[in-house]
Structure formats: structure tokens, C-alpha cells
Subunit: 323 residues, 2 copies
């Protein structure tokens, strides 16, 4: 006596449940066999109209939902073990579900993070996708946010600000940039690139780490506050893509948007001086760019940002908050 909900799960999501612990999604729970690893648990939800736009492609929505969670696992130095999916839908629309599930399955395979279970519910409101991702680290080795030390160099992966600028473009901002740059920035907004390839290097060499999801400046301030230190940052050292450079070149005021905008899903970490070279070497081997943007210092004030002439820059509204 299968219900519509069970049909939907069997049709779209059972093919993703490749792990034996998922029990083919016929049970109400999944099982993760005992192991010698600590488990890292993280959960992030994305809401239509808040974290993505109603017109975003279903494939991109699926990828964003999973990848924002994988980004957290990467920042903790964890290897993915699997994920649970809660999907709140207005209707069981095949035109949405088929490409959504397909892309989710492709990403689950790409990042070796199988679907373990979930819940599918109806909602009269905006669609919402909540994912809980589970990762593994050797005992005691999860990298924390609140362990940045005075003297640590502060680094970020990839490039910063692309996603916020991409969102601006989707929302109608004018920019005298090429179609290629425009497409690049929009793609950066829609499809985060979780830096899982760097997870082991983070675990081996970083003293503290988090992913940049609410804006670099604000997230760095949170890391400093949680760690009881402050920091001095070199705004000119923040890595920018060619597309971002093109978009802000005419408007230096947009630097605040780059440093304060959200959805970067790059990694921010503190690395002790003696670990810097091995970390940079590991990142180079892996092929992920990392940039030193400043240093942590003793003290408790807000991090200070300086321009190329070492003058303080005032930044306001630096972090995205839902409330």
C-alpha cells in the first residue's frame, strides 16, 4: 500500500542511498557502524527566496544544499560519511524532483557522501532543504573555530566575494563586465565548491578553521571573538577572481561587499608559523589556492583591516544575519 510519499522516495532518492547503512531508505532510521573515528555532525538548511532564488535551476539548488554542508565538514578536517535530507515541498513536481535528485546523486558520488536517510514533508510555503552531514576524523582531531592563537597566520582558500557579486548580478545590479565574468560570478553564487580536498591538510596543519559562509570579515570576527584574540588583515591580500576584480574595479566601495558578502564557502584558517610551509606545500600539491591575508594578535578588539598603504579601513555591516 505505498503512498505518494513512499513512491517519491523510491523513485527519486533510493538510487542515492548506496550505503548499506541507509537500508534502502525503507526504514525510519539509518545506521552508522561503530568505528574508531570521531563523528563530526553539521546541519545547514537553505530556503527558497532566502538562500537561493526561486528561478535557480533545480540542479544548482541540490548542489548548494549538499555543498554548504560539505564545506563545514572540510573546515573541520573531516572526511564525509553520509548525509540525511529533509525536503519540504509544495508539491511533488517531477520537473523539479528529477533533476534535483539526479544532481544530488552526482554530488553524493563526487564527494563520496552517500544519502543515508531523510524526511519528505509538504509545506504550503517556500521550499526548504535541510541537510545534516556526517563526517569522520581520527579521535580528538576535529579542527575547531575557537582555537586561533596569537601569531597564527590567517589564510583563506580560493577567491572571496564572487558569490555576493553574483547574487547582485542576479538581482539586477549593473556591471560593465564580460558575459564570461558574469557567468562565472553567478555560478559561484549558485554552486559552492567545498574544499574537501584540503580537509586532511587542514587537520594536519591548521590550528583553527571555519568555512566562510556569512562574509569573510564577519566570520573572521567571530573566529577571533571565539578564540579570545584579535587580528590584523591586509585587504589587498584578499584573493579576488578576475571577474570580481573587473566588477569592482570601477567602484572601490564594492570592496566592502566582497569582504562582507556571504556564500563564499571558502575555508578560513589559522596556521602557526612553523606549519605554514607544510600547509602551503600540501595545498599546492592538491591544487587548491590558499592566500595569507593577515595574522592573529593578542587582544580582544575587532579585527583591523588595512589597505595597501597600511591605513585602517572602516567596514560596517560585515556579516549576514537572518534576524
Amino acid at each position: 500500500m505505498p503512498s505518494g510519499e513512499d513512491d517519491l522516495i523510491a523513485r527519486y532518492f533510493k538510487p542515492l542511498a548506496t550505503d548499506p547503512g541507509a537500508l534502502g531508505l525503507v526504514d525510519d532510521a539509518a545506521v552508522l557502524a561503530a568505528s574508531r573515528d570521531d563523528l563530526v555532525l553539521t546541519t545547514d538548511a537553505i530556503v527558497e527566496g532566502v538562500h537561493y532564488l526561486p528561478g535557480d535551476p533545480p540542479r544548482a539548488i541540490a548542489r548548494k544544499a549538499l555543498r554548504v554542508n560539505l564545506s563545514d565538514l572540510a573546515a573541520k578536517g573531516a572526511t564525509p560519511a553520509g548525509f540525511l535530507l529533509t525536503l519540504a515541498l509544495r508539491s511533488a513536481d517531477e520537473r523539479f524532483l528529477a533533476p534535483f535528485a539526479q544532481a544530488l546523486g552526482e554530488d553524493a558520488a563526487l564527494f563520496d557522501c552517500p544519502l543515508l536517510g531523510g524526511d519528505t514533508v509538504s509545506t504550503p510555503g517556500p521550499m526548504m532543504i535541510s541537510i545534516t552531514a556526517i563526517g569522520r576524523v581520527p579521535p580528538g582531531r576535529m579542527v575547531r573555530r575557537n582555537t586561533l592563537c596569537a601569531g597564527d597566520r590567517i589564510l583563506v582558500t580560493g577567491t572571496i566575494g564572487d558569490s555576493a557579486l553574483g547574487l547582485d548580478l542576479l538581482q539586477g545590479a549593473n556591471a560593465d563586465i564580460s558575459d564570461e565574468h558574469r557567468a562565472f560570478l553567478i555560478d559561484r553564487y549558485r554552486v559552492p565548491q567545498p574544499r574537501l580536498a584540503l580537509a586532511q591538510a587542514i587537520r594536519d596543519h591548521a590550528g583553527a578553521a571555519m568555512d566562510v559562509s556569512d562574509g569573510l570579515a564577519g566570520d573572521l570576527a567571530k573566529m577571533c571573538a571565539a578564540s579570545g584574540v584579535t587580528a590584523i588583515l591586509d585587504a589587498a591580500a584578499v584573493p579576488l577572481s578576475a571577474a570580481a576584480q573587473a566588477m569592482i574595479s570601477g567602484e572601490p566601495a564594492k570592496l566592502a561587499r566582497v569582504l562582507g558578502g556571504g556564500d563564499d564557502y571558502e575555508l578560513l584558517c589559522g596556521v602557526a608559523a612553523q606549519q605554514l610551509d607544510p600547509f602551503l606545500a600540501a595545498a599546492q600539491r592538491i591544487g587548491v589556492s590558499v592566500s595569507v591575508i593577515g595574522s592573529a594578535e593578542a587582544g580582544t578588539g575587532a579585527p583591523r583591516w588595512r589597505d595597501a598603504e597600511h591605513r585602517d579601513i572602516a567596514l560596517s555591516g560585515l556579516s549576514y544575519s537572518h534576524f
Copy 2:
């Protein structure tokens, strides 16, 4: 530079994060230390207007959100380890959040299931609470849904149908019952009683188990289908509360509502003949009522329900489905 979201988390939810693995909710992830147990993972979401009514008390909403997940852990024979909370809110309304968080904390303490982490997001739509609960079982001992065997006696805990009748009352159904019975049924709808006290007895004696969330008849049909067996059930043996008996006494047609309605959050299990007495004895020691309602049989048809005169009863629309 704390944001409104961080303030909200610190004020309302940090007090619930009593487990060291929650890291005081200052990190993006929680950590569960390696152990010799298998981990059982389950996730269930509740949506305003779908799983609860907009006028339901915040304390009841909190309890329902957690307890529907704890009910799944109980059915799997698992002991709670903790939970992750995703909260999608229209606004950070203290009148909602303060009692919601307080009741959630009380239940977390009552069931020894601490808050490990979560995500708080804004939504323009109905409120949604998605919880992922994690439990522990000795290796290989999670009780499954698809392992019901021909010959197993089929049992349920507590009483069935109260919640569906309570929802009917909240939605304006007429019933010539006492105020006390009315309050009992409404409370059963609003605040499930997860049968965690019975988890170890389920693990020790049940061959298959699930919780009854989408209606007893439909959930039993799912268990039979997943297990490749059928069943014969005695409708008169289904345990009814005095309040439910009072409400359906004048309208026998409401039996279908009792067997088909959802939100019971009782446990449904299959117990082999030689395990029946020890299981009943364990339940009695614990003080949870359990009732034998039928037996599993070889075959693949839909379970057959019989009345007190052993005549077949036709039941339709037996399971709640979101789509």
C-alpha cells in the same frame, strides 16, 4: 561583532547544549566521540499548518518536534545520544522562542538527549522545525522494520487513535464527550509520548519494529510489505483509551479514523512466540502497556483486519501521505 542570529542562539539554545560535543554551539559542527556503539540516525521535520496547528502552544510544538524523532529511536531499540535542530522562523519572536527553547531543554533533559548543534534560518513562509536525532545501539543490534517474520505476534504500545481524534476535535469535530476526555485527546495530538523506556526491551525481544506515525493500518502494511509477509489483525484488540472509546462509541465508522489516523507515536513490533512472555514481562516492569493485535503470516497480500466476529473489515485511506 555578534549578529542577531548569534544572539538568538546564545540566549535561547546555548543553555541546552550541555554535551561537551556541542562545543557550546560556537562552532559550525558538533563532535561525537568514537565509541563501541553503532549510531542510529533519524530525521523528522514538522511544519506549521501541516504537522501542528498555528495556534498550538510553543511548548507543545517544541516537544512534538523532538519527540517524533525520539519515537523513531525507541522503535530502533536505541538510546538517545543527542540531536541537531534546524529552525526556520519568520521572525525572532521572544514570545515564541522563550517557551519553545525552555520546553525543548526540559525534554532534552528528561530524555537525556542533549542539543548538539543546529541551524537557524529565516523564512517568509510557515515555521518549520527539522530535527536529526542520533542514538546508540550495541553493534549490529538496531531493530529494523523489514524483518517481521511469519508467526511473529504483532504488538502495539499504549493506545491508538487518540491523536487523530484530538486533531478532529481541534478542527471543530462535534463529540459528546467530557471535558476531561477532550483535553486528553488534544494533548495526545499535541505532545507525543516516545516509548524510549521500552527501547532496550524492543532491542532484546522484538524481531522488527517501527513507530506508528502515519496511521496503524498503513504503517503495518508498510512493515509487512518491507518484510515480505502479510498479517491478520484483530481490530477489537487494538488498544483504545477511555476517551477514544467515548468518542467513537456513537459512531463505529470512526474505527477507520482510529486505525488510519496518524500521529500516534506508539511502537509497532513483531515478536517471535518464544520472546513474547519475556517481552510482556519487561514491558510490565517498565510500566508501558503493550497489546497483542494479531500475527504475521506467510504471503504477500495486504494485512487483513477482522472484527470481533472474525469478519473481514474493509479499510481504505489508511495511511497519511504528504503527496
